[in-house]
């Protein structure tokens, strides 16, 4: 309970709520698109940079085992999501694959919020975790696109979808930030930390203000998604989160690291996946894949998921 409170009454989470309220009362609390885009570039690049510097202080052997676990997780998630959506949800192939792609991939902002949470609690974690975020972003999307292919005719979509995914901005910035952090090391980070490190949580607060607005705007579409998808958007993240913690612990991560891996698995993508899916699976309905991720799973993880997975990780890793 205390864990939840530590998480809920932060400026970040509260700003998310404020953004949602603003949208509800019809206020123009909208950040300019240009600033929203800039903030997301900043956040992703900054987390990559910090990760890279931490990576430069890690040994390959520490990273090898957990990496395998992460890749496995990324590849399998869309498979079982797809199966559930087809069997239990009775969704068509395109919609099932589209939703599976989103839950197979990850939300970097959710991850960033989780890391901020650990920082607040003063809990340590493996510095190379952002590399896992990069690793986990892509395979889920690719596997799901291949699944979709079975139910479609054209081949143009898949190729383009894969290219889009691989050259996507967030991956390139995260990976680029990692490499830059790796190469320039702590001395390099020192020079830029008053820009990329210190103001980070504040920038995240403003970003979440806007996310709240966007998520609230999606709420109207919830009826369209149906009860099954609502349940899916909460139950699957919970299961994925617990599973991620277990995989993390099994591959030797600390409690903090296992928590972060769990949170990553629990999160659903709303930047890379939508763009790729829109191009590769045009017949899938965006309301079905975007609304649950944005209006249910993201706020759920932000508020309940973070303390839940952290509590579980603490209890499990001992």
């Amino acid at each position: 309970m205390d864990l939840i409170q530590t998480n809920l009454l932060t400026p970040m989470v509260l700003a998310f709520v404020l953004g949602g309220i603003g949208a509800r009362v019809g206020s123009d609390l909208k950040l300019p698109d240009a600033f929203y885009a800039t903030l997301s570039i900043y956040l992703v690049f900054a987390i990559g940079l910090k990760g890279g510097v931490a990576l430069s202080e890690s040994s390959l052997s520490e990273i090898a085992t957990p990496s395998l676990g992460v890749l496995l997780l990324g590849g399998l998630t869309p498979l079982w999501c797809f199966a559930i959506l087809r069997r239990c949800g009775r969704f068509g192939v395109p919609d099932a694959a589209a939703i599976a792609a989103h839950y197979g991939s990850i939300s970097i902002v959710t991850f960033i919020a989780g890391i901020s949470y650990l920082d607040t609690l003063g809990v340590s974690y493996e510095g190379f975790l952002p590399a896992f975020a990069a690793l986990l972003e892509i395979p889920g999307i690719l596997v799901a696109l291949v699944l979709a292919q079975r139910g479609m005719d054209g081949g143009r979509g898949l190729g383009e979808g894969i290219r889009e995914t691989l050259t996507g901005r967030s991956i390139l910035l995260l990976a680029g930030g990692l490499v830059i952090g790796l190469l320039s090391g702590p001395a390099g980070l020192d020079k830029v930390s008053p820009f990329f490190v210190d103001p980070f949580q504040g920038a995240l607060t403003l970003f979440l203000l806007e996310m709240g607005r966007v998520a609230a705007g999606r709420l109207e579409d919830l009826r369209q998604s149906g009860a099954f998808l609502l349940a899916f958007a909460i139950i699957v993240p919970v299961l994925q989160g617990l599973l991620g913690v277990v995989v993390g612990a099994a591959t030797g991560l600390s409690a903090g690291g296992s928590f972060a891996l769990g949170l990553l698995s629990a999160s659903g993508s709303y930047i890379a996946a939508p763009a790729a899916v829109r191009l590769a699976i045009p017949s899938a309905n965006p309301s079905l894949y975007l609304t649950p991720v944005l209006a249910i799973t993201f706020p759920f993880n932000l508020t309940v998921g973070i303390p839940l997975f952290y509590g579980f990780a603490q209890w499990w890793v001992q």
Binding site: D33, Y36, A37, E160, V214, G217, R218, D221, Y270, I271, P274, A275, R278, L279, P282, S283, P286, S287, L290, L294
Partner: protein, 100 residues
């Protein structure tokens, strides 16, 4: 000063299609085009654009035949599944041979 009639085709579509549409324009024979960022609401409600932030507006001066080819392409590949509208009009230009 010699003026000439050409077609102006304007396409408004969800931003994710931008690069594809540009390629299609070129393939249909457009010699140039202009893009801008717009927001929109249409008959099919809000779309992916919500997250990605915006629609794109492409306008291109083309020959009547190219305009037809572009409409044809849009009709075949996009109108069904994507948030997109397109319209064509007659405009007068100077040095029209640049566009046809």
């Amino acid at each position: 000063m010699l003026t000439m009639k050409v077609k102006l085709i304007t396409i408004i579509a969800e931003a994710v299609l931008e690069e594809r549409l540009v390629r299609d324009l070129r393939a249909a024979g457009a010699k140039g085009f202009t893009r801008s960022e717009v927001r929109g609401e249409g008959s099919r409600g809000r779309r992916v654009g919500d997250v990605e932030g915006a629609n794109v507006r492409l306008e291109s001066l083309v020959s009547p035949e190219a305009a037809d080819r572009i409409l044809e392409t849009l009709n075949e590949n996009y109108f069904e599944h994507y948030a997109i509208v397109a319209f064509v009009e007659d405009v007068t230009v100077v040095r029209g041979d640049k566009y046809v």
